[in-house]
């Protein structure tokens, strides 16, 4: 099936165009760089931006990990991992520590990342102001003028209504003290991992044709108020499989009588902890 396609599917001109966009994105942390997104053999909204970014940076000696919801074995993660195994023939792994490139949807791994690793985020809607202002021509101006008051208005409304900020995922951040950025729909639990991270974070939005980046060791601040500081989710239980208490937990319904358990969303982290415990 892959006969006739280039290494990692995209042709080299396209890869070069995307790499230029990535370089620009790294040079202007948090700024959304428009790029000539291609139609991929996977549907828009299913990770085409992330796939194009990964395809443009991957080399034959890279080791790729793909996660969706933190897990390596969710259907879409499998589908994307297979795509690269097939079109690029690269080694794949589920181990965060072993990967050179980690493509992710909705999570940042629990295992701390190291310098030299690249995380590629799949982004559905790159524009943090989109729900507040549907017009691209207007939001681009708001970014140009750092006109972000409306984002604070939203957080103000949360506090006025609920007593605390009610945004739980895709929680807006300011990158390098300049650009308002959407961290893609990761839970706010993962936001602190963006700050001063040694790994390079690349964000690809295929349908919306935008690439942006958080370079290593960049200040990433979650928006908040002085008297309502940013805080992350906590659970009053631990992972039923590995006992982790400081990881993001998914609720799993075990029967139809309200039975449930909580397990790590990061399947690799969970498995590793179990191994160590054994």
């Amino acid at each position: 099936m892959t006969a006739g396609y280039n290494f990692a599917y995209l042709d080299e001109q396209t890869k070069r165009m995307i790499r230029r966009a990535i370089l620009k994105a790294v040079a202007i942390p948090g700024y959304q760089v428009p790029f000539g997104s291609r139609e991929m053999p996977l549907p828009y909204g299913w990770g085409t931006g992330g796939i194009q970014v990964t395809a443009s940076i991957i080399g034959s000696d890279d080791v790729l990990k793909v996660i969706d919801q933190g897990a390596d074995d969710t259907t879409n993660a499998i589908s994307i991992r297979r795509f690269f195994a097939k079109t690029a023939g690269v080694a794949t792994t589920t181990r965060t520590a072993d990967a050179t490139i980690i493509q992710t949807r909705h999570r940042i791994p629990e295992t701390p990342l190291r310098a030299g690793q690249i995380v590629v985020f799949q982004v559905p809607i790159p524009e943090p102001l989109r729900w507040l202002e549907p017009r691209e021509s207007e939001t681009r101006q708001m970014h140009a003028y750092a006109d972000y008051a409306i984002m604070h208005v939203k957080l103000y409304e949360d506090i006025a209504r609920y007593g605390h900020i009610a945004t739980t995922y895709d929680y807006p951040v300011i990158v390098n003290e300049r650009y308002l950025m959407r961290p893609s729909p990761i839970p706010k639990f993962d936001n602190p991992k963006l700050d001063m991270n040694p790994a390079l974070m690349l964000f690809g939005a295929g349908r919306e044709k935008r690439i942006y980046a958080v370079p290593p060791y960049t200040i990433v601040k979650s928006l908040d108020f002085e008297d309502h500081p940013f805080s992350i989710e906590t659970w009053d239980t631990s992972c039923a499989l590995c006992g982790a208490t400081n990881a993001f937990l998914d609720e799993v319904i075990t029967d139809d009588h309200g039975g449930k358990m909580f397990v790590c969303s990061d399947s690799d982290h969970c498995a590793e902890r179990k191994e160590k415990a054994a």
């Binding site: 006739g4 396609y5 042709d11 428009p34 790029f35 000539g36 997104s37 291609r38 139609e39 991929m40 053999p41 549907p43 828009y44 909204g45 299913w46 085409t48 969706d68 919801q69 933190g70 897990a71 074995d73 969710t74 259907t75 879409n76 499998i78 297979r82 949807r105 909705h106 999570r107 559905p124 017009r135 691209e136 021509s137 609920y162 007593g163 605390h164 009610a166 739980t168 995922y169 895709d170 729909p185 990761i186 839970p187 706010k188 639990f189 349908r207 044709k209 935008r210 989710e233 499989l241 993001f248 937990l249 998914d250 609720e251 799993v252 319904i253 075990t254 029967d255 397990v263 969303s265």
Partner: protein, 367 residues
């Protein structure tokens, strides 16, 4: 244990693909469709898939339709994904639709036009009665086909143009080369050439509804069907190393030009304006809808009030593409349980806070 059930798995994906292939084939007792059959007998499906798939290849379009089990949006997606991998060998010269060998050519603005009205094969004026004779193998229908006229009649709108009654189509001086939406992202404000490209690739149903909305008053611009023509045109390239034009083939296109009201402005006298639609193959409905929407999107350049959806460039151009729309709508099927977990937590927390507040209030009342 239930935990396993929420995970997918390679085996499940493989099995799903095998099942899909089986369902596509249907009952093996029924003969399999050939690409020729699709291309010949479902030719309008092929035309739509070529148009919105942005590639003129009847055989590939037929294959895509077969593979997609007749789901045209899926077929368009298949064709687009394939197209994205193709190298660009040359850029053609603009096709000359005034040199079309027209099989159909009608104008609603004059009773007769130079070159004549040619009805051609059309659903128009058929009575939409189910033809039960088609349920059985039918007799080959016989129709005498007149030779297309050799003289190529001028565009009807050119007749208005000679009198200065309609705005001439001008080349956009800001554009060096025609933009290519498959290579560059859409940016605003978009040039008309970019808009037309977007509309040509746009979903027929979306454009039909938008065009219709302009007729019902949402951005009304008084359209007349100036001319609709369907027929064959030559595709010409001029390779640099040759230095002269070469005909590389012929394609069928449908072209629609509308004539619309315009009251004039400071710099221009009152005259008619145009809307333009062009598709591969025979796709009259799409071409007409496209022309209506093209004209509606010219509101800004013509100094008209922009108030209706069809006049809103960002709204129309960002939502016209069915490959983008279909993908994003259907991505809701992907797991979202991490975000949902966060939402669950916050809803429980808010409800908990309220309950605590209610209880405190109740205690306060009792105390």
């Amino acid at each position: 244990m239930a935990y396993v059930a929420v995970k997918g798995g390679e085996k499940a994906i493989d099995a799903a693909h095998r099942l899909l292939a089986k369902e596509r084939r249907g009952d093996p007792a029924v003969p399999e469709l050939s690409l020729d059959q699709i291309s010949q007998q479902l030719s309008l499906s092929v035309d739509r898939v070529m148009t919105e798939g942005s590639i003129y290849d009847r055989e590939l379009a037929a294959l895509a339709i077969k593979q997609a089990r007749g789901d045209l949006v899926e077929a368009i997606f298949l064709l687009r994904a394939y197209r994205a991998t193709l190298p660009r060998l040359a850029e053609s010269k603009p096709i000359e639709t005034n040199r079309m060998r027209a099989r159909r050519r009608i104008s609603a603005i004059f009773k007769d036009v130079p070159g004549g009205q040619v009805l051609g094969g059309t659903f128009d004026y058929t009575h939409r009665l189910l033809d039960f004779t088609l349920a059985a193998p039918s007799v080959f229908p016989d129709a005498e086909i007149a030779e297309p006229s050799d003289t190529m009649p001028p565009h009807v709108l050119a007749i208005l143009g000679d009198e200065g009654l309609i705005q001439p189509e001008r080349r956009d001086e800001n554009l060096q080369n025609p933009p290519d939406l498959t290579r560059e992202p859409l940016e605003f404000p978009a040039a008309r050439a970019t808009r037309l490209q977007n509309l040509a690739r746009g979903d027929e149903g979306f454009l039909l509804s938008l065009g219709y909305s302009t007729q019902r008053g949402y951005g009304r611009n008084h359209p007349f069907a100036g001319e609709i023509r369907i027929g064959e045109v030559e595709v010409v390239i001029e390779p640099e190393e040759l230095g002269f034009p070469v005909v590389i083939g012929e394609i069928t296109v449908t072209e629609c030009e509308t004539v619309n009201q315009f009251s004039g402005s400071k710099s221009e006298p009152a005259q008619f304006t145009r809307g333009y639609g062009l598709t591969f193959g025979e796709a009259e409905r799409k071409a007409m809808a496209m022309a209506l929407v093209d004209r509606a999107l010219r509101a800004t350049e013509l100094g008209e009030d922009v108030s209706a959806p069809a006049q809103d460039e960002e709204f129309v151009l960002y939502h016209s593409d069915n490959v983008e729309a279909s993908g994003f709508v259907q991505h809701l099927k992907l797991p979202h349980y991490v975000d949902f977990q966060s939402e669950l937590n916050i809803v429980r927390k808010i409800r908990g806070d309220e309950q605590v507040a209610d209880e405190a209030l109740a205690e306060g009342i009792l105390a």
